[in-house]
Structures are given as C-alpha cells and as structure tokens.
C-alpha cells in the first residue's frame, strides 16, 4: 500500500522558492502596469438618455446584414465584456461576420436612478433604444441579442412588443430560476428584499461582487490569484488577467427598485415561466414570443445553470427554436478562444438563414 502523499521536503522548498521567485519577478511588471484598456472597437454614439448610451459599432467595413443587431446586456457588470480586447471581442467578430451591431450601455446608476423600475428599463429605455435603431434603418423590426439578465429583459420586451423584434437571440439567459443548483436563486429565496432595498437604496456593486465571489470562494478568491503568479513574468498575459479583473470589479450599482422587482418576480417568484409576470401592468407571456429564437448557454455556467436557460424552449411560442450548448463558462462564452471560433459565426449563420 502506497501513501498518496509523496512531497519531498526538497521539492516543497523548491516549490516555495519558485513561487517566491515568480513573485519577485512580477513586482516590476505589476508596478508598471497601467490600467488595461478594453478593445474599444470603433463606435459612434447614436442615442443617449440619462446614463444610458446606444453605441453603433463601425470600423469594420460595411455590414452585409440588412437587419441590425442590438445587444442588450445585463445591468450587473459593464457591457464591455462583449468587446473586451481585440482578439477576444464578440462584437468585433460579429462585425467581421457582416452583422450591423448596436449595443446598449446602461451606465452607472446613482441615487437619481434609485426608483427606476423594470418597466422603466424594458418598456422605457429598451423600447426607445429599439425605436432609435428601427428609425435609423427604416425597419419595423430589428434583431435582439440579450445577454444574461439582458436576455431576460429581451424576452420580456419581445413578448410585450412582438412587432419590433425580428429574431431573438438569448445568451446565458436565466429563464427558469428555480432549477436545482442555482445557488444565487437558492440564497435569495429567504431574503426580505423589501427590507434590503429599503435599507441600501441602490445595491452597491461591491456587495454584488462579494456575493459572486462567495459562489466559489476558494477558486475565485484564492486559487485564481495563485494561478496569476505563474503569469507574473509575462506582461501580455498579466495584462489580460488585469483587464478581466477590471471588468469583474468595475461594476455598476443596481437601481434599487429594479433590483427589488427582479429578485422578487424572477428569482423568488419564478414568474417568467409561471406566466404571472407583469411589467408595467402588462402581462408578460412567453407564448407571445413567436419570432425565431436562438438560445445559447454555457455548459459550465456557475451563475446561470444550463438548465435555467435550457427551459426556454418549453415556454416560447415560436416553432423556430434553436438552442446551442457551448462548452465553457459564463464568461468564457465571450472571451475564450473557442468562443471566438464558434459563437459569433453560429449567430451570424443562424441570422442569415432567417434574413
């Protein structure tokens, strides 16, 4: 019978010495590191309202697609995950495929936005953004790409304004919030959200990030940084790492009222699939989503479990439903090498077949 542990003292010391050496080598790189920029794919501002901006991406030649694609991101985190860095940019890849891409940047809510409701976001902001893009192209309907919470918003919007959406794509979008393994949903089920929002007003981004870190505390708070030591001597890799850190922690606060509704109606009440959701007094019926739907989810998603997304197929009214399982996580679906190769081309081809 052998012992499973065979760590020689000399080997252990060598490990420590190596760790130390890498740390020492990393000092210079870290100290001289500027805040990494995002990809900043050329874009023009086409609409703004309050803190919201609608960007139209330019700079990659003329789009071949006749119908523009509006990306609706989540309120949590910034939209720049879709355009993180030049070689890992979903936006850039979509442009290169020939899509005409618009993006809603929700901005950073402050206390003036404390009372924004889901109705304000979906039937207000989002609807006006859609109208702007429709008018610019002289179209009745455009294509929507909703991401995560933005996917849930897009589903609600499409159900409420079916005539304005031609094709709908949802990415890592929670639909059934009560699937087993949904840790976020599990944790907030017993929360008194009214008291919470009444007390904090807007929900601080740092608090949200804290909760996300505690989903996988050791991996996200420790192992990740231990792994970073291995790339301290590689400025390029370190820059990528720090850019991701910037994106993760440079997050907007959440408008209190919208947060309250989202937690109560979606996370706690699971009303989107129960058919009892009301936005601005209007009933949201996923059966009204009769447009073609492409539902993309990540198989290793720890924030939105695959089953939470997969459920969509059972509830939308369309007969033209396609789902695509991506081998990766909630973030990897935008920035991994595999994602660059697989996701934008799949979106483009799916849209082209329905143009």
């Amino acid at each position: 019978m052998y012992t499973p542990l065979r760590i020689e003292p000399t080997r252990a010391l060598l490990d420590i010495a190596t760790f130390q050496r890498k740390l020492a080598a990393g000092i210079g790189h870290l100290r001289n590191m500027r805040e990494p920029e995002y990809a900043n794919t050329p874009r023009e501002l086409v609409y703004s309202e309050d803190k919201l901006k609608v960007w139209h991406f330019t700079g990659h030649g003329r789009a071949t697609s006749k119908t523009p694609l509006l990306i609706v991101y989540a309120l949590v985190n910034t939209v720049w995950m879709t355009d993180l860095q030049p070689d890992r940019s979903m936006v850039r890849n979509l442009l290169e495929q020939g899509e005409d891409v618009y993006l809603i940047d929700w901005g950073y809510p402050d206390f003036a936005d404390r009372w924004l409701t889901l109705d304000d976001y979906i039937n207000g902001y989002l609807d006006r953004c859609v109208d702007v893009v429709r008018r610019r192209h002289g179209l009745d309907a455009i294509n929507l790409l909703g991401i995560c919470q933005g996917g849930a918003f897009s589903l609600c919007y499409t159900a409420l304004h079916p005539g304005k959406v031609g094709n709908l794509i949802t990415m890592v979008t929670p639909v059934d919030f009560h699937t087993p393994g949904n840790m976020l949903s599990h944790w907030c089920r017993n929360m008194d959200v009214d008291q919470f929002v009444d007390t904090v007003g807007n929900v601080p981004a740092a608090l949200m990030n804290y909760v996300y870190l505690t989903l996988k505390p050791v991996r996200l708070n420790q192992q990740k940084y231990i792994g970073m030591v291995d790339i301290l001597d590689s400025p390029a890799e370190l820059e990528d790492f720090l850019r991701m850190e910037r994106w993760i922690f440079d997050s907007p606060d959440q408008a209190g009222e919208a947060f309250r509704q989202f937690i109560k109606d979606f996370y706690q009440g699971n009303k989107l699939i129960k058919g009892t959701l009301q936005i601005g007094g209007k009933h949201v019926d996923l059966g009204m989503v009769t447009q073609p739907v492409l539902n993309i989810f990540a198989e290793q998603d720890h924030l939105v479990p695959p089953d939470a997304s997969r459920a969509l197929g059972e509830y939308v009214g369309t007969d033209d439903y396609t789902q695509l399982a991506f081998k990766g996580g909630h973030i990897g679906i935008y920035v991994s090498g595999r994602a660059q190769r697989e996701v934008p081309p799949a979106i483009h081809q799916w849209l082209r077949q329905r143009a």
């Binding site: 760590i7 100290r31 404390r114 008291q195 919470f196 708070n221 492409l294």
Partner: protein, 379 residues
C-alpha cells in the same frame, strides 16, 4: 554528511528559510503598496500604481494564505514523517494558515464591509463600551420618562445587533462545516492516488486537489435548505440593524435641520413618477402628426382605389360566371371585398407563427444545437 544535510534541511535551513521568506513576502507586499519612488524611471503617463494597488488588496489576501500554508506544509514535511498519511494531511491543513479561512477572510471589501465593524463604529459613536453595556442587551426592560423613546430605540437596536451576531455565528458554523467536509472529501480523493505514478508529489498539486474538494463540499452545503435559511436570516438581520442605524441617524439629522436620505429618496420617487406620467402623456409633435396624417391619407386613397377596382371586377365576374360552380359564402364575401381581404391577410401575417425549421446552426465541436422538434411544450 547525509545526516547533517538532513538535519540542516529539517531544522536550521527550514527555520532560516521561513524567516527569509516571510521577510521577502512582507517587503514584496510593502513595495507594491507604495508608489514608485525611482526618479530614474517614471512612466510617461500617470503612474499606474493605483490600478495595481486596487487589484493588489484582493490578490494579496489570497496569496498570503497560500504562502503561509506552503511554508506550513514544508515545515511539517521536514519533521519526522507521520505514521499515517491522514495524520500527515492533518499536519498540512491543521495550522493557523488554513487556506479555506483565508479564502473567506480575504474577500472583505468596501461594499461588503463587515457589519461588525460598522456596529463597533456605531457603538463607539454612541459611547458604549460593548454590547453588554447596551441597554436592553440582556433583554428588554421597561423604559420611563423623557428619554423613554430613545431608551426603547436603543433596546431595539441592541436586540437587533445580538440577533444579527447570532445569525452570523450560525453562518460561520456552516462555513466551518464546509471546511471540515472539504477535508473529508480531500481524503477520499487522495485515497485514489495511493498507487505509483498517481501520488501527489508537489504542494501545488495537493492544493489544487484540496480546492476541488473544498468547493464541492461548500457547494453541497450552500445548496442545502439549512444554508438557505441561515443566509436569509443573516442578510435580513444585518439589514435590520442597518435600518435602525439609519433611523437613528435620520432623527439626529432632523433635529439639526440636515436633509436626510429618506427625504431625498422621497423626492426621487416623486420625480421618477412625474417622468413616467410625462412620457405617458407625451403628445406627438405636429411634425409627427402631419407625417402620420399624410401616410393615412395615402393608405386611404389606395384602399379606395382597390375597392373601386374590386367592384368593377366583381361586377364583370358576376356577369361572366353565371354558369360557373358556386363558391363558399366566405370566399364569395372575400372576393367581393378585396379591401377587407387585404386587411385579413395583413392580420394573418402578423399572427402567423414562422414555419417550423430545423435548427440549422452548424454544430461547433461539442456544442449541441437542438431543434424544437421533440421538445414538449408544458403549456
């Protein structure tokens, strides 16, 4: 000689190395936390140390725990080998540098700042020495006189603080349970490595295996009903304390004539409500109306033209087909009313579901396009 080397490794070297390593670590951390002072090299743009420092706090918290643990493992490994590998494992993970605790301890940030720290600040502000000194901390007592309301508020606060501390303690108990179960899982995982070629021979490999085990154990507990209840209780009790703090602060502000958060919030709510009403009642501009009227006129003219054409052709058809087979009433009505028919077609076009298509997205490697066919609707 060999014995001397071994002794050196086990004792002096380890001790000296650990001291050196600690110094090295501290100087590394210290240096990173200070702004650049080298006059010979200055970045052409504003120094980037601020960003590095931002990331540093998080990074160091995780790295420090790991570093301490590595040293602990090395030190334990240099001593007489434990008889059983499980005992050896206990030595590795039993120390104060336990990385699981570090993983939780290090994620304190501005937004998630420990509420205990806030309470302590509040207690200091209220000039109490500790929870035991708070009126009502040992249970509610009747209050009298001019300061009755304040006393009652303090009692409520004390009770809320204690309740919150109890909830936090329950939460910590679950975290510790996750930690203990993580160790049990690690042993199970290690047992699978008890054969040549599969043995764990580096600190990093052991650490990675432990992370897998710890996360698995944590996830199981975090998804339990008990955790859900405790988590909710912890959040709710913390919010209750914070809410009471805010109430007391607001009362002081009101006495001083300082605008309060509640007042600002109330104004914000009214403003947002007005904005909604404004948008809902927003009349289209004259230009919009003119354009819409012109469009409607064009549409009306077209419909009239179609109607006139239809009447003519219907009249001609009636004359021409006296001997032709009869058609259904609805078809006849539709044929006799092309304008209505056009409208019906338009509605049908809106209401029609798109034709069923098979999912035609190419299947990237390991991706799974699934068509709707075969999926059962729950509705």
């Amino acid at each position: 000689m060999a014995d001397q080397v071994t002794d050196f490794l086990k004792n002096d070297f380890i001790r000296d190395y650990q001291a050196l390593a600690r110094q090295s670590w501290e100087s590394w951390a210290k240096q990173l936390q200070q702004p650049a002072t080298n006059d010979f090299f200055k970045p052409p743009t504003p120094p980037a140390t601020s960003f590095a420092s931002d990331a540093l706090e998080r990074t160091l918290a995780g790295l420090k725990g790991y570093f301490d643990w590595m040293q602990g493992v090395a030190a334990a490994g240099s001593q007489e080998p434990a008889g059983d590998w499980r005992q050896q494992l206990q030595q590795y993970f039993g120390g104060a540098g336990q990385p699981f605790a570090q993983a939780f301890g290090g994620i304190d940030s501005a937004g998630a700042e420990g509420f205990i720290r806030q309470w302590q600040s509040w207690l200091q502000g209220a000039q109490y020495g500790g929870f035991g000194d708070l009126p009502g901390a040992d249970g509610a007592t009747p209050a009298f006189g001019l300061n009755r309301e304040q006393q009652m508020q303090q009692q409520t606060m004390a009770a809320a603080v204690l309740e919150s501390l109890q909830a936090s303690a329950r939460y910590q108990t679950l975290i510790q349970r996750a930690n203990a179960q993580g160790m049990e899982r690690l042993q199970d995982k290690l047992a699978l490595h008890a054969e040549p070629g599969r043995q764990i021979d580096s600190i990093k490999a052991l650490y990675d295996l432990w992370v897998d085990a710890a996360e698995e154990a944590y996830a199981e507990i975090a998804l339990s009903d008990e955790f859900r209840e405790v988590y909710g209780e912890m959040v709710n009790s913390q919010m209750r304390v914070r809410h009471l703090q805010q109430q007391q602060t607001e009362q002081i502000c009101l006495q001083l004539g300082v605008p309060t958060r509640a007042e600002v919030s109330s104004l914000g709510e009214r403003l947002q409500s007005l904005r909604r009403e404004l948008r809902a009642g927003h009349a289209p501009s004259p230009q919009d109306l003119a354009g819409e009227i012109a469009g409607l006129r064009r549409e009306l003219a077209e419909l009239k033209r179609q109607l006139a054409d239809g009447r003519e052709s219907a009249s001609a058809a009636t004359k021409r087909t006296a001997a032709e087979p009869a058609v259904s009433k609805s078809s006849a009505r539709a044929a006799a009313s092309p304008a209505k028919n056009a409208g019906a077609k338009a509605i049908a076009k809106v209401a029609r579901k798109p034709a069923t298509r098979k999912a035609a997205v190419p299947s990237p490697s390991r991706s799974k396009p699934v068509s709707r066919a075969g999926s059962r609707k729950r509705k």
